[in-house]
Symmetry: C2
Subunit: 282 residues, 2 copies
């Protein structure tokens, strides 16, 4: 089992890759007008960090129930923050409206080819460091990470790319089964990086053609994986970050004895929240 | 601040270095007769692992109150385990008696030059990876780690090596102040890797000549450092493993603006124990 530990990435999650790639593509005038995004946390921190490095003005829409730990991290990076209700607001519409009225460039968390390409460097690095794998397990939220990784790996490679979603939020699994994007109510799950009602439009096109299967894991199985990473590998993963490993530990995915790569997508979880999760499981 | 993350070492702590070095020095007949040691956990796991690799018979004396997590890890490596009461037993005497009667070679946790030399590779690697540092902070238990590191750095280097002990277990600080080894009652502290009543004989000779100073930290300050490592660096440190960083975060040590190396000596702590510590602090 080869883990790609994106909890050690700048900002504590893979999201910095996509945000940086997007910001790097903007001209001076666009950076001056500023950027805008909406995110529950990791993408927010990544955009704030990239904006800081590129000296771009930055406005971030964060849901009311985003973890205090993540809101604090974003604020510390100097971004302006505006809150919204995750369960009643159409975040895509809100984002589009605010972008149109302010002239800011949207740095979408996943529905953007430059962002997806950035996330794909996760797979490139894993293969560069570890050599070929037979199976690559990726957490799936909006789909940017898995779409980028599947594209980076390419169709000529024997590597099978599969995704993992929380059971309560299996919109991508359902969409893949149906062949078109379906929407579900915003899922209630501890995996806050995967609380999305529908896969992104651009990622879903890639997922349809390049991703074999989507597996699901329960919140309890995610906590088992977080504990495993803590006690056996001494690393901290947030719930979404541990979801792909959870599928493997729960025996959800058959590895066929081959080499398996697993993306640990992020590690931003406060100690109290981690302990709350550990305490309510088992 | 440059951290040497020995929580990622084999066995989850720096101890494997010394144990491996010692085992590598034994002949086939000695390995056949077997080895013996006494340890609260990390040295035990390291010796069990090294014995396993060298196919040596292995008996480990572990205190009754050693964490279940550590006892389990040692047992899983195939070592025989015998328990003793940390607060009423003279472990050095017990160890010597059992070694004499069984013909086993003692792999002492610190009072052995080959073990100390092994631990010293922590400093060698840190300097190799990071270049020179002005200050190196090491946790101090029996003194094997800091003595090995101070020796590896050498007296011609400008690096100042300082040690950190839990306030309740400041036997090395007191010994250094007095110029000779003093014994204290077995200290009660969360830093179970540093619960020793007196510095080792051989390490203390090195500490006297090569270590500038010993600082102390409270149990609460140690928990602050554990939380910092968890939330900001996404790594897991056990209490003793975080003690050197605790001294830095608590402002106990003046860095003089120079480059600082900090040894995170181990990461073996169960999730429940971590949460217990996080819950009772702050």
């Amino acid at each position: 089992m080869l883990l790609k530990a994106e909890n050690f990435q700048r900002g504590g999650a893979f999201k910095f890759r996509g945000a940086y790639n997007k910001l790097a593509s903007l001209g001076a005038a666009e950076r001056e007008r500023g950027i805008i995004t909406a995110s529950s946390g990791n993408h927010a921190a990544a955009v704030a960090l990239a904006a800081n490095l590129f000296e771009a003005r930055c406005l971030i829409l964060m849901p009311d129930d985003a973890s205090a730990f993540k809101v604090e991290a974003v604020s510390a990076l100097g971004a302006e923050i505006s809150r919204f209700d995750r369960y009643s607001t159409d975040r895509e519409a809100l984002l589009a409206d605010l972008a149109a009225s302010s002239g800011r460039t949207v740095v979408h968390p996943f529905d953007d080819e430059l962002v997806m390409a950035g996330q794909g460097t996760v797979a490139l690095e894993l293969l560069e460091d570890a050599g070929e794998v037979d199976l690559l397990l990726c957490p799936v939220g909006g789909g940017g990470l898995i779409a980028g990784c599947a594209t980076a790996i390419g169709t000529s490679s024997p590597t099978r790319v599969v995704g993992v979603e929380p059971s309560a939020g299996d919109d991508t699994r359902r969409s893949l089964a149906l062949g078109e994007r379906v929407s579900i109510p915003v899922p209630r799950t501890i995996a806050d990086g995967q609380q999305l009602p529908t896969p992104g439009r651009l990622p879903f096109e890639v997922i349809k053609s390049r991703v074999g299967e989507i597996f699901t894991v329960s919140d309890d199985e995610i906590v088992v994986a977080m504990r495993y990473l803590f006690e056996h590998l001494q690393i901290v993963a947030e719930p979404s970050g541990a979801s792909a490993l959870a599928a493997l530990l729960a025996g959800r995915v058959s590895t066929g004895g081959g080499r398996v790569g697993v993306v640990i997508s992020g590690g931003n979880v406060g100690a109290e929240r981690f302990c709350e999760l550990i305490g309510t499981s088992s």
